[in-house]
């Protein structure tokens, strides 16, 4: 069902933020970042001051998509975890409910082992909310319209965007 919208409500966002804040603390991470597999930033927590979230989301999604392509080539369904090790900073990427990607950035104050443990502990709860959001977004039109601001969009609205 590719032609649907993904709708994040404020209560979804608050739940994601609470879980990400906890994960960030527990994993001693620089930041944690949740995006959908198409490269849209959903929520994040931690020190993101020097990070462009839109660019990060796009590149992380591209990286995971390319890796899944590789997995398919060698006959595996997916490589569910990716790890990029840098000199001081590292990134741990993992899929959540097959619809979202969780990125954890960490430095020498944490370790890969700790991050992997905390991610595996946090993922089931995150997956529940992601699944709920996707199910609601895929719902029939009447239900979807109740949560979209675009149902009554007019030509004048669109014209205004172009000044």
């Amino acid at each position: 069902m590719p032609r649907t919208n993904l709708v994040i409500l404020e209560q979804d966002y608050e739940r994601f933020i609470a879980m990400l804040e906890q994960l960030c603390t527990n994993a001693n991470a620089r930041f944690v970042f949740l995006l959908d597999k198409n490269g849209q930033h959903i929520a994040s927590s931690g020190d993101l001051v020097s990070v462009d979230p839109t660019a990060l989301a796009s590149l992380a999604a591209g990286s995971v998509a390319a890796t899944e392509g590789l997995a398919g080539l060698v006959g595996d369904q997916e490589f569910s975890t990716l790890f990029h090790e840098g000199r001081s900073d590292s990134l741990h990427l993992s899929t959540v409910a097959d619809k979202a990607i969780l990125v954890v950035s960490f430095d020498e104050r944490s370790s890969l082992g700790l991050v992997r443990l905390r991610v595996s502990q946090a993922t089931p709860a995150l997956a529940n909310v992601v699944t709920e959001v996707v199910r609601r977004s895929d719902a029939p039109r009447a239900e979807a319209l109740a949560v979209t601001p675009l149902g009554d969009l007019t030509d004048a609205d669109i014209d205004r965007l172009f000044g």
Partner: protein
């Protein structure tokens, strides 16, 4: 898949520029990046080879304004046009809300255009999209070159449905924003109906 975020008050749509290699997809994106106000655009990312051929994708986020209090943002992607990067093209089409096909008007690129359009149809179908209902614009680029085919002939070769067609010279910016506005209008109208 349009992404509507009530917490951030944002609507995010994905537009993909498709077409044969060296047709001008990246040039379109670079022009948009160059001419868009700094506060309305994000970072331009190009994953390219050492010879500046697109390897995976170019990416440019732009923001148009607000609708009903929601910021409308468009994520512009290009695909690598070279034939052997087909796996990457298929990945980039995932979650697309609208496609711009950038055709090279030169006669010697006629076969490459047709092959790329066929490839687009295949990859959309493989990703579960129905071209008949997907917002789609045909851009005829490089209209200034001496070997450019007549518009009617290109349209006969390349039109996939009753899509709007825009003539362009992307290196000079001609037709670039017309194309962008046309696809954005189609995407938003499509969203209204969905």
């Amino acid at each position: 898949m349009t992404f509507i975020n009530y917490a951030a008050r944002e609507i995010n749509c994905k537009i993909v520029y498709y077409g044969p290699g060296l047709g001008g997809k990246t040039t379109n994106i670079q022009w948009i990046h160059e001419k868009t106000r700094p506060d309305s655009k994000g970072k331009l990312i190009s994953l390219a080879t050492e010879t500046d051929r697109t390897l995976f994708f170019d990416f440019l986020p732009i923001e148009l304004g607000t609708i009903r209090g929601f910021r409308t943002r468009f994520h512009l992607y290009t695909v690598p046009g070279q034939v052997f990067y087909d796996a990457s093209r298929k990945l980039i089409l995932k979650g697309v809300d609208g496609v711009v096909f950038v055709a090279d008007s030169q006669e010697m690129r006629r076969d490459a255009n047709v092959e790329s359009a066929e490839n687009l149809k295949t990859n959309l179908r493989d990703n579960g999209y129905d071209l008949a209902t997907l917002p789609y614009v045909l851009q005829l680029n490089k209209r200034d070159l001496p070997g450019a085919l007549p518009v009617e002939r290109l349209a006969a070769d390349l039109r996939l449905k009753d899509e709007p067609t825009v003539e362009a010279v992307a290196t000079k910016g001609i037709g670039v924003f017309d194309t962008l506005k046309t696809i954005i209008r189609l995407v938003l109208n499509d969203l209204r109906r969905r």
